[in-house]
């Protein structure tokens, strides 16, 4: 989904630098680089997510030490996982995007890189049914353990009653 051109909000200087720096450090042909409003956006194949996150976290020039947010968007034909990253030392930010097959949504957990991912991943598992491999305890978080279904998905009915 491509956003429209924003006139007044552009990539800041640090993020511009990051965009130039990223391809040489990651050195992965399958990764797509782009921008969206004021953020650098990377489209990553789901099998590469763990090694790339590890590089982003450990590389001294990138040093993404803070996982700000992990969210899932259901586009019906694909499930898109968004990792919003920020670096306190380098002051740059980016978004990692990863597309999953909604019939078999499996991806590696990044909770051993950023501990912050633990609950975000459990929540995504709870509401969207995404399975995070190697997660320490992938149980339901917000919903009761005996709940059936994944209410975050677009296929889950929002209002069961009819308007009267």
């Amino acid at each position: 989904m491509e956003g429209t051109e924003h006139k007044n909000i552009v990539l800041s200087e640090v993020n511009q630098k990051l965009l130039e720096l990223l391809p040489s450090i990651l050195n992965e042909p399958d990764v797509e680089y782009g921008t969206k409003i004021d953020e650098v956006v990377l489209n990553v194949p789901s099998n590469l997510i763990h090694p790339i996150c590890k590089t982003l976290h450990l590389n001294t020039e990138l040093f993404f030490d803070y996982l700000r947010c992990l969210s899932v968007v259901d586009y019906k034909d694909i499930l898109e996982i968004n990792y919003h990253l920020f670096s306190y030392t380098k002051r740059h930010k980016m978004v990692l995007k990863c597309e999953l097959n909604p019939k078999k949504p499996v991806i590696s957990s990044v909770s051993n890189i950023w501990k912050a991912a633990n609950w975000f991943e459990r929540e995504s598992h709870d509401l969207f049914g995404v399975v995070f491999k190697d997660h320490p305890s992938l149980d339901r978080l917000l919903l009761p353990d005996d709940f059936e279904g994944n209410p975050g998905l677009k296929s889950y009915p929002l209002h069961e009653y009819k308007e009267w």
Binding site: H6, I37, V73, Y88, W114, L143, P151
Partner: protein, 374 residues
């Protein structure tokens, strides 16, 4: 409290499981913490959340953009205006709206007042958590002044629905300036009074000093933000590092701690109230008459696209991830709630401390369960 005793094969007691909550006054809402004890030491802690899950994010997908604002009121119900602001900023970013100056000044003044009200509530209940009965009376008295001011401006005490996409609902009422100045004077004196009452109290110091020190690396790795992160010594405030609105026009400091213990978390918030007061005073000097709503269509319909906005709520880094498909309803709204990420660290913080400190440590995080469970 429900107590189970785990017994090994020979019949002697190994360790004890204690259910703290969900109906426990010191959990500040409905939150359950299962503590595994070895004598008086906590061996393991397992937090259970979700008792207040209302599916707000999913509900947003069925409401129009202007209706969603009311749902954001109910997330962080101690700092409602800060929540409203975050969503409105996200929608405005997609719409590329220019917000009039006066609207931004009104928003900033009210949000900073809300920050003080939220920290005053924290001050009161944290005193209770640590065993002091008096501070809550003072904290609530000051919070009440701000709440009644809100009531005059927005018409409601909690669920304001005042900040709207494109500006604010209506202009400040007549006589607001004088009332605000008298509240500022009262708050100035009250913060000093509260400070004297609790900060250097010997019993309070004994309960909070050097309790649950959080190293800076752990705090960052857990995604902890807001006053708790600043108490570890990291200078980080979204209002300064990524200024939004008109925050670049004010001169204010970021209070930080140095050890990251419970007392630092408390004291950072106390100092933050003074900084917020200073912002309000500066804003009152700069505010000028003018428009309070941007010119826009009545029906909000942002173009296709997505954006992420970050704001500094009293509890930390409040982010909203908004995806629009060009229709009248948001396609997806994800709230990056600061309390949610802060609460994750509780398991790590509680391991190896005395059970008597559990309440003080949980209190120092200042969680709001409405925001954790969404």
């Amino acid at each position: 409290m429900e107590i189970n005793k785990n017994v090994n094969e020979s019949g002697s007691m190994v360790d004890m499981l204690i259910n703290m909550g969900p109906q426990h006054p010191s959990t500040h809402g409905v939150f359950r913490l299962v503590l595994q004890l070895d004598g008086e030491l906590i061996v393991d802690a397992e937090p259970h959340i979700g008792y207040l899950h209302r599916g707000s994010e999913k509900l947003c997908e069925a409401e129009s953009y202007s209706q969603v604002v009311t749902l954001f009121d109910r997330l962080d119900y101690v700092a409602n205006l800060n929540g409203e602001l975050a969503f409105c900023m996200a929608a405005e970013k997609l719409l590329e709206l220019e917000i009039p100056d006066r609207a931004w000044y009104i928003r900033t003044i009210l949000c900073e007042l809300n920050r003080i009200a939220s920290h005053m509530l924290f001050y009161g209940v944290y005193g209770l958590d640590a065993g002091a009965m008096t501070p809550v009376l003072y904290g609530f008295r000051e919070r009440e002044r701000i709440q009644s001011l809100f009531e005059q401006v927005t018409g409601a005490r909690m669920m304001h629905n005042y900040i709207r996409i494109g500006g604010v609902k209506e202009d400040l009422p007549s006589g607001f300036e004088n009332k605000l100045y008298s509240v500022i004077d009262e708050l100035d004196a009250a913060i000093e009074e509260c400070d004297e009452l609790l900060t250097q109290n010997e019993a309070f110091l004994a309960r909070t000093k050097n309790v649950s020190r959080l190293p800076i690396e752990d705090a960052v790795n857990f995604g902890v933000t807001g006053p708790i992160l600043r108490s570890t010594g990291l200078i980080e405030d979204v209002r300064i590092s990524e200024p939004y609105g008109i925050y670049d026009r004010f001169d204010f400091g970021i209070p930080i701690g140095n050890t990251g213990d419970c007392w630092d978390r408390y004291y950072v918030r106390m100092q933050e109230m003074r900084e917020s007061l200073s912002i309000i005073k500066q804003a009152m000097k700069q505010i000028e008459p003018g428009e309070i709503q941007a010119k826009m269509r009545r029906i909000v319909r942002p173009p296709e696209g997505e954006c992420f906005v970050r704001t500094e709520s009293p509890r930390g880094d409040l982010g909203v991830f908004l995806v629009s498909d060009g229709s009248q309803n948001p396609y997806r709204v994800k709230v990056r709630a600061p309390s949610f990420a802060n609460l994750q660290a509780i398991k790590h913080m509680l391991e190896g401390v005395y059970v008597a400190d559990a309440v003080v440590i949980l209190g120092s995080l200042d969680i709001v369960l409405g925001e954790v469970d969404r």
